[in-house]
Symmetry: C2
Subunit: 134 residues, 2 copies
DNA sequence: GTTGACTCTATACCCGGGTACAAGGTTGAT
DNA sequence: ATCAACCTTGTACCCGGGTATAGAGTCAAC
């Protein structure tokens, strides 16, 4: 199939496919005499894999690492698990960080004893020199 | 003080200060005859406020909204709280999303009954059906 | 055999939040 | 008076992950 159909079936933009090819995520497909790219059905699955991995928070670089490993046959389960675990750790860190932000803001809102009196507000405190703020 | 000192005291880059000025986050300081920017001490506090808000996950645009409100005197507590609460909601959404990713990956790792047997791995499953791409 | 939809390459642009020159002018201590 | 360290503007570049455009060539249905 040509690129447009692949894009439709994999639910991505045509440009995105060419981008993925350029950065080495997708192998270069065959070409017609006209120069048109010619894909087989498994390209659909492959792009879906990429999108799925992306939706799990893997960056395109990480995905490329997985692909490269697999391609070189140098992949072991340990390698793969290590990548997955690194991603888990990154996700956990991010969650911790967001929870800390959450708490700081929530704390500000809770301890702002000024339903309508502006100057006591946590935001005002932020403006007025970091007197007592977290 | 001149921009270099301000940058040092506020612990940001000189370029960053100019960027903040350009996007309207910092109001334009006075200038010497030579054209040099001349800041007062409260600029330090102000930049620290920006960094603090940023560390709580506010984007520069959100911070600009807070500042604009304050400048225009059109700020009410309700406005400020609304912004803070919007940020809280955004943070919560992000956390939900990360937790879903976390679970999906963890599930994959747990249910991959192949400490060293490659073909049953969750990653391999992702690849399955496209044996011949990269 | 013409039309309209498709594809090709190359290049530029978008977002946010900066960072890095380059070429010139100023400051201030010696 | 010199000289390093500072400042000015303008421009371009970085990251990741795309999206948009122009100008030219190709495919297929009628």
């Amino acid at each position: 199939m040509r690129i447009g159909k692949l894009a439709a079936q994999a639910e991505v933009n045509v440009q995105t496919i060419r981008l993925y090819e350029r950065i080495g995520l997708l192998k270069k497909p065959g070409r017609r005499k006209s120069g048109y790219r010619e894909y087989t059905d498994d390209a659909v699955t492959f792009i879906r894999f990429i999108r799925q991995a992306k939706s799990l928070g893997f960056t395109l670089n990480e995905i490329k690492s997985l692909i490269d490993m697999r391609e070189k046959g140098s992949h072991t389960m340990a390698d793969m698990r290590a990548i997955a675990q690194a991603r888990l750790r990154a996700i956990d860190e991010k969650i911790q960080q967001l929870q800390a932000m959450r708490e700081a803001i929530q704390h500000g809102l809770n301890h702002c004893g000024c339903p309508e009196q502006f100057p006591a507000c946590v935001f005002v405190q932020l403006f007025e020199g970091n007197e007592s703020n977290p």
